[in-house]
Subunit: 148 residues, 2 copies
DNA sequence: TATTGTTATACTCTATAACTATA
DNA sequence: TATAGTTATAGAGTATAACAATA
């Protein structure tokens, strides 16, 4: 029978993230978007745009998938593609005015939801939890690179 | 421009969870399973089995999807279905011997990976992070029920 | 030759709703 | 009537690999 001191923490990590995802997923779907699509919108928000490679890195969506996701956002007229000037292999993706409007309408609602969730935390507590999450993530990544 | 004290924490929560998912996802796929399928295996491990309703609750997989996931696991001979005795509408799902063997082979490897990630944390730190994650999740759920 | 993004394939998950059989 | 699962449908993400255009 398994009994490890860290399992409760891992379970809480998953449950906490999933609780957040559950809410935000509903909100996103009510806008007619999927998580992947919203990820793109949120990543492009408040930026001048970026090329597919950069978008893929930030959203963890692989390039083959990314093409389809951007296709669907483009057909909704929320993003647009331009050929990059400096490298004609690259495609520059950015929000359309409608996309920016959606971003600006949706993001504050997200923030309000999240803000309330964090309302009872002091700044010190926030720092503490953030630092531990960073440490934990780095430990996971470390092993990824160096599977000793 | 958005500037909230809790956004860095939320981002770390997501990145930390995703870092874990990235690794475990690779491991799972190398076994020829999907995340949903592994979720079922892990949930059934060390239990006598359970009916679809309970499985769905624990894994957050909706019943329509669950049928398909279990179908695929059954075709791999990792789980089996039995009609429940007490209620013939219910279906009892449990690991086959092969499923148990997979569970017992895979789970320790997962644990070893996770254990290393947590290696540098003291017990006090683990308690602290766990408590904060619980608080945070409950705050999210609270809003879900009571959107004030 | 290497890189950027697209296309193609095959599979799986997702939400939703109608349906069957029990209760 | 209500519940437990199944079936059906349509859409979307996933991994993977081959491909075109450009560097």
């Amino acid at each position: 029978m398994v009994k490890e001191r860290f399992l409760p923490v891992l379970r809480e990590l998953a449950r906490c993230y999933q609780a957040f995802e559950l809410h935000s997923g509903r909100h996103i779907r009510s806008l007619g978007l999927t998580s992947a699509q919203f990820d793109i919108i949120a990543t492009l928000g408040n930026t001048p745009g970026m090329c597919c490679g950069e978008l893929g890195e930030k959203t963890l969506i692989t390039k083959g998938t990314l093409t389809g996701v951007i296709d669907r956002l483009e057909s909704k007229a929320l993003v647009e593609r331009e050929t990059a000037l400096h490298d004609r292999r690259s495609v520059f993706v950015k929000l359309t005015p409608a996309g920016e409007q959606l971003f600006e309408q949706v993001f504050p609602a997200h923030l309000a939801f999240i803000r309330q969730g964090f309302a009872s935390f002091t700044d010190d507590e926030l720092s503490a939890i953030q630092n531990m999450l960073i440490r934990l993530r780095e430990a996971f990544i470390q092993e990824e690179k160096d599977p000793s």
